[in-house]
């Protein structure tokens, strides 16, 4: 059923244009992968701390001292469109 499809909503969130055949395939792939990882739901993991890292001290913080910046030509040299020092991006239709 079309309303059960998850790919269109995800593709919109992830800003991915998909061809119709591609979307069908991904729908199937996602479904089988998600089915596979369902196994995790059966484990009792109550009370397990999911924290990824143990908290560190302030010794790994950066001192507030300025360093070198990039020239525009280096930082934005691969940009599709520039105007002088500015990056140019497409306009937003709704706000035009």
């Amino acid at each position: 059923m079309a309303e059960d499809r998850i790919v269109p909503k995800l593709a919109a969130l992830a800003r991915l244009r998909l061809e119709p055949g591609e979307a069908d395939r991904l729908e199937r792939d996602l479904s089988s992968i998600l089915h596979h990882v369902e196994r995790l739901q059966s484990l009792d993991m109550q009370g397990v701390d999911a924290a990824l890292w143990t908290a560190g001290g302030e010794e790994r913080l950066r001192p507030d001292e300025p360093g070198e910046s990039l020239a525009v030509e280096d930082g934005l040299g691969c940009a599709a469109a520039r105007d002088g020092r500015y990056l140019i991006v497409p306009g937003m239709r709704e706000e035009a």
Binding site: R60, L61, D64, V72, L87, V89, G91
Partner: protein, 470 residues
């Protein structure tokens, strides 16, 4: 039906650090576009964030200044969304473990506003719309930004404004920001809803985004409260939506709703370690906080100072500290308050006096007041001395001496000046003899002019009367 207004505010403050939040590019306003950019703040492939210790310290101090609990463990999260001013496609922010929780702010006019959270994040770049395109400058991208979220405790647009002003005042007291409104370094989003007075009804909220002036906030909320009230009166429904303030037209307008509902897909930022903050570290920062505006206001009011003067003195930390120092040097609090909010404030407004780097030292203000009180200087002379101190520094004694402003108490010398004034203004003298009292103040003025204000007005008056034989 009577309605009451329910307002909550999210205030954003750019922190004044030398470098950005996660890279060593300069945090500096006004540079040519895209001059403070690097792999990190441009979101180039492979770049990683390196958190700025000074920004974290400033955030903790501000949270403490707002009376927050400081978490022993604080953590960054990613907020994912696409926008061209957001280089990485996510903003590094804080969700579950922000720097501060559960604070409160006391408003100058009374009233308490609860703070739910204080979180540290990175600012986005600056995007300007043009015809069919937009231009982006990343100088601001990655500048440390503090978000202060209030509970919906504000009950009027005026109160919302007072709250925002107080937040800004506290930040300025702490020196964590420049708070330049015109540069957008302090901004606010407001949530506003109405409910029948005396109920706890939860009605749809309207969010008004990205306001950068106190006046806009007050006007926008006033408009929005009226608009919602009108809708309810005509038994319509208020849509839960985001609106923007169109100042020239004086209206709020619905903002483009994104074509999908937002889903920020927050998750813990894996590039950054959670930060453990020791109790001792936080206590040391708390102990080192300056006296804050609310405490200032309480102390000043307790000293019997008038409300308006309390407000003016507590407005800025340097002024409040100037007041303290003058009182410590022996000035009577009421007099010090009067002069600081009067003559000195006038000089400040003229740009002649900088209270944060005062040439007229507070101890000299105390001395000036002492001399006025003891009669050594007239009010008029004291103002001249003060203007001179403000411009040149130095002591009251030397300045009064140099300007020849030591009070003229010698009756014979004053009488000579009075006679000269009468001689030069025969018509006025005659008017006075004829009973025209207005001529008296003119003649006193003339004596003052001749003596540059060194004569006590009462003395001048009595000698004029003697001289014209009344």
């Amino acid at each position: 039906m009577e309605f009451e207004t329910v307002i909550g505010l999210e205030v954003h403050i750019e922190l004044k650090t030398r470098t950005k939040m996660f890279c060593s590019c300069r945090n500096e306003f006004g540079a040519p576009p895209n001059s403070h950019i690097c792999p990190v703040c441009l979101g180039l492939p492979g770049a990683l964030p390196a958190p700025n210790g000074a920004a974290i310290e400033a955030a903790i101090r501000m949270a403490l200044g707002l009376g927050c609990e400081i978490s022993e463990r604080t953590r960054f999260d990613r907020k994912n969304y696409f926008y061209p001013d957001l280089p990485k496609g996510y903003q590094i922010s804080q969700l579950d473990e922000p720097i501060g929780l559960d604070g409160r702010v006391l408003l100058p006019g009374g009233g308490e506003v609860r703070i739910s959270r204080v979180q540290l994040e990175e600012d986005a770049g600056k995007l300007q719309h043009e015809a069919g395109r937009a231009v982006v400058d990343f100088n601001r991208a990655g500048v440390p930004l503090l978000e202060i979220v209030s509970q919906p405790d504000l009950s009027s647009p005026q109160e919302a404004r007072a709250y925002w002003e107080e937040i800004r005042r506290i930040a300025l007291y702490l020196g964590v920001t420049d708070a330049r409104m015109e540069e957008g370094s302090v901004r606010a989003d407001a949530n506003i809803s109405l409910r029948p007075r005396g109920t706890n009804a939860l009605n749809p909220r309207v969010e008004i985004k990205n306001m950068n002036s106190f006046r806009f906030l007050e006007r926008a909320l006033t408009y929005e409260a009226d608009r919602q009230a009108e809708i309810y009166r005509t038994s319509g429904r208020v849509a839960q939506e985001t609106r923007g303030w169109d100042d020239p037209r004086g209206v709020t307008v619905p903002q483009r709703s994104k074509e999908e509902s937002q889903d920020y897909r927050y998750f813990p930022e894996p590039d950054l370690l959670p930060l453990a903050l020791s109790r001792a570290r936080v206590d040391a920062l708390r102990d080192a906080l300056p006296k804050l505006p609310a405490d200032r206001r309480t102390a000043l009011a307790a000293a019997g100072i008038a409300e308006e003067q309390v407000r003016l003195i507590a407005e800025s930390r340097p002024r409040a500290e100037y007041f303290d120092a003058a009182v410590a040097a022996g000035a009577a609090p009421l007099e010090a308050a009067k002069w600081i909010t009067g003559e000195l404030a006038r000089l400040e407004n003229e740009g002649a006096f900088d209270v944060s780097a005062p040439k007229a030292e507070p101890a000299e203000l105390a001395e000036l007041l002492r001399q006025v009180d003891g009669g050594a200087l007239t009010q008029a002379s004291a103002k001249q001395v003060l203007a001179e101190l403000v411009a040149e520094g130095g002591t009251v004694a030397a300045t009064a001496e140099r300007l020849g402003l030591v009070r003229l108490d010698d009756r014979d010398a004053v009488r000579a000046e009075v006679r000269a004034a009468i001689q030069e203004n025969e018509k006025a003298a005659q008017d006075l003899r004829d009973g025209k009292e207005k001529a008296m103040s003119f003649l006193v003025g003339q004596v003052m002019r001749r003596t540059r204000g060194r004569v006590a007005p009462d003395l001048a008056k009595s000698l004029i009367e003697e001289e014209i034989g009344r």
